[in-house]
């Protein structure tokens, strides 16, 4: 199964690049990038079960708590640092983005869009949004920092982070018209400004 967001990320990565995937889960994205782009890859994960899943796949994985920073990684030691659908669950949003841009030449951030029309509609009807991107109830969600695409772009501007490229998707298809309303997933390629 080929995921559209994986495919987009792969188009931004040069063959043989050195990739760090933060919150790498079971290592499937890294595995995809190793197979399609022959990258040298490492994942970062905190969850014991996911560590085992990565080892099972033969993907390098480092068990550290990203919230405490990325001190095991040298500055500028990676071509790409990826944070795939994890930023909203991070407590130290500013800290992790700064760390990504310290460790990597480029950072790739993918985000579920809280401003997606279906989310807005659910709020209008009086409920916190629940969807494929936000599969949790308000009371059991690990997410702590929701944002819309406009919010994230403003954040980048404020923090002097340059957005080199972005791709907004709705269920895998690219959205050009009112992306902040019709995109449910956004992918950003960012650099130090």
């Amino acid at each position: 199964m080929e995921r559209r967001d994986y495919k987009t990320i792969a188009t931004w990565i040069e063959n043989g690049g050195k990739v760090l995937d933060l919150g790498c889960g079971d290592g499937s994205l890294l595995n995809y990038l190793i197979e399609t782009k022959e990258v040298k890859g490492y994942g970062v994960e905190i969850d014991d079960t996911k560590i085992l899943a990565c080892i099972e796949r033969g993907v390098n994985v480092i068990q550290v708590d990203m919230e405490a920073g990325l001190s095991v990684f040298e500055s500028n030691s990676f071509d790409y640092v990826i944070l795939s659908q994890t930023l909203q669950a991070m407590r130290h949003t500013e800290g992790i983005v700064a760390e990504m841009l310290r460790v990597g030449r480029e950072a790739i951030v993918t985000l579920p869009n809280f401003g997606y029309w279906l989310n807005r509609w659910q709020l209008l009807t009086g409920h916190m949004p629940m969807s494929k991107e936000f599969p949790y109830h308000w009371y059991d969600t690990p997410n702590v920092h929701f944002c819309t695409l406009d919010d994230f772009e403003e954040f980048c501007m404020e923090k002097k982070i340059r957005i080199a490229e972005k791709r907004i998707l709705q269920h895998g298809r690219q959205v050009r018209f009112f992306p902040n309303l019709f995109g449910n997933l956004a992918l950003y390629r960012v650099e130090r400004g």
Binding site: Q63, S71, V72, E74
Partner: protein, 383 residues
């Protein structure tokens, strides 16, 4: 005996009649290593796994020496048919390190040139010396390259040394509860342990063998101290708390608390089976290990030749070889673009956790080992 045991094993001895110059500059005219093997070496000699033992360990890693024995080798929960290091797939080797007291040439061995035990004349050996002698044993057994070298604690230091001394002879490195060097606190503990031995009146400058005595009190104290540091405060608390043996205090200095009784028993037991000179020598090898030292204290530089895929494992409650020390190893390997994975096991047992059975820890080692391929092997056990 369970069917996941390697069963009855017989130690073997390899004799090396060649002069061997140690890091200290001293040359041994020759030496012997006692070792055990489990499993079957395949035709291409590509399925060999070397286990490196820690401070108080020896070559007897798994199985039993006799059917009447009730206690198996020191890492029997890890090694055997169907166990994480599966002897149906791998040929597992462990030797008693040079300077040991379980059959390899060491301070208690007979020195042919004097007709007496070596005693104080036995030279100090280093982790790198051990690894070089292990490589000689590998040559002796016809093993060009190990599928994996595995060790915990001081054994993990040997695995690291394998990686940078013989990068072409090790495919995978499993470095468990280790450090790339001891901290001042750790060296301090070792020194107190050594002082306990050195100040025992029965020590006789290390030549106690000829007086027919052993510095058992010193060795016992050394072990009691060591034992405290291998456990976590929490686990000692939950196991012993302030439990009193006789239900009340008796205003004296005898054994009153359960923990005192336990430590004395452990110390007593250890001092009856271990040689004090070997304990001194092994703790010194621990102190001296510091691969970064020769490279301007740059561990990344020290690891620049490392090629082995590496798994680094630490335990959350291990304060003697803390996760922080393991992360230093991981960082230096990452700096060299080595394939490395790192797992931090949540465990209560302190440093000793690496020897104990824990479902997640054992699953990790099992999965990692299953992933190691060699020759025409397809990853399935060979039975």
């Amino acid at each position: 005996m369970h069917n996941d045991s390697v069963g009855i094993v017989t130690p073997q001895v390899a004799r090396f009649d060649v002069p061997f110059t140690l890091a200290s500059g001293v040359t041994l005219p020759g030496f012997e290593l006692v070792f055990e093997t489990y499993g079957i070496l395949n035709a291409t000699a590509s399925n060999a796994v070397l286990i490196c033992h820690a401070l108080s360990g020896n070559h007897h890693v798994a199985g039993f020496h006799a059917a009447t024995e009730s206690v198996p080798g020191w890492w029997d929960n890890m090694i055997g048919p169907g166990k994480p290091i599966d002897t149906r797939r791998f040929y597992v080797i462990c030797c008693n390190n040079l300077g040991g007291c379980h059959g390899s040439t060491g301070p208690s061995s007979f020195n042919p040139s004097t007709g007496k035990p070596f005693g104080s004349s036995f030279p100090l050996v280093t982790v790198e010396d051990w690894v070089r002698t292990q490589a000689m044993l590998a040559d002796h057994l016809g093993i060009e390259c190990f599928a994996a070298v595995v060790g915990g604690s001081l054994g993990g230091m040997q695995v690291l040394a394998w990686s940078y001394l013989f990068p072409d002879r090790i495919n995978h490195a499993l470095v468990i509860a280790a450090a790339s060097k001891l901290t001042a606190q750790n060296i301090g503990f070792n020194d107190v342990a050594r002082q306990a031995i050195l100040s025992d009146p029965d020590f006789h400058g290390g030549d106690y063998y000829q007086y027919g005595v052993v510095p058992a009190r010193g060795l016992k104290l050394a072990r009691m101290l060591g034992h405290i540091t291998y456990l976590s405060d929490d686990v000692m608390g939950s196991r012993f708390g302030r439990l009193l043996q006789n239900g009340g205090i008796s205003f004296g200095f005898g054994v009153e608390f359960e923990v005192e009784s336990y430590l004395r028993y452990q110390g007593e037991k250890f001092s009856s089976i271990f040689d004090a000179n070997t304990y001194l020598l092994m703790t010194r090898a621990l102190d001296y290990f510091d691969p970064a030292h020769l490279h301007g204290n740059d561990l990344s530089l020290a690891f620049s030749r490392v090629r082995a895929r590496t798994l680094v494992v630490s335990f959350t409650s291990d304060w003697r070889f803390s996760p922080e020390r393991s992360r230093e190893i991981v960082k230096a390997l990452l700096d060299n673009r080595v394939d490395v994975s790192y797992a931090e096991i949540t465990a209560d047992y302190g440093h000793d956790a690496f020897l104990l059975e824990d479902p997640h820890y054992h699953a990790l080692i099992r999965i990692y080992m299953q992933h190691i391929t060699f020759g025409n092997d397809d990853g399935t056990p060979g039975l």
